[in-house]
Amino acid sequence: MTENTVNFSRMAKMSEPINADQPSKPFDDQHYLLALRQQMLKFSNLQIADSALAEDAVQEALMAALKKVDSFSGRAAFKTWVFAILKNKIIDILRQRRRFVEADSLGQTGAEDKLLQDDVFNAGGHWHLVERPQNWTEPQLAMQNQHFWRVFEVCLDHLPPQQAQIFMMREFIGLDTGEICASTGVSISNLHVLLYRARLRLRTCLEKHWFLKGEDSD
């Protein structure tokens, strides 16, 4: 829906003349808007498996933000605010869809996770030797590495959609478990299972593709 994006910036340009000396107004710059929209889409898609709905949420959030554009002096404040709106839109959508989410709660990826479980643990429930979690040396350092974030993103993308959604609601948006249960309709015990599976998958992926690989390798 690039048309809508173009319209946004066109509307913005009509309401505020372009001023090259002051690039800080959020809607002056089409590139800024496009980049922001891309980030929002990425975020929204992680939360909502249905890409059309994910895009709706982004569009609505941007629309709402546009109405108040004059009250923001800088991009940082505007961005924080537009993401806050987006977060609420996403929660609304998830709330409406709770029945669908509940339906594939543990079923769809259950078999796949059984396989992961078998890969990682032996029959006695112990870690397979090669899969046993290693000591990650200074995970904080990884944060300063661009390559690490690429790996991190790929690992997130490889989570089953519902696990990604719930993990991100918990750790990225920072909702507590009660709120997540309320907005997704997932029971508290299923939520604990899903979070555990997501964490197990993520740590396995990160260990394999980053922490054991040597941080200097590209």
Partner: protein, 61 residues
Amino acid sequence: MSESRERTLSRRERWALALHKAMCSGCRNFDRQIEALSDLTEGFKYVSHGADEKSNGNREG
């Protein structure tokens, strides 16, 4: 271990977990790793939201 991040465990559960961790180095690492995951995801927030700030406003060199 994952669940202990979401709710307060009972005394009995805490003891069982501590005992298990004492015997299982992989589990101790796992516990530290999911803690790290939490921090990393927090960090990811700033990377993914702040990515364009760097390229747009290079005022604070």
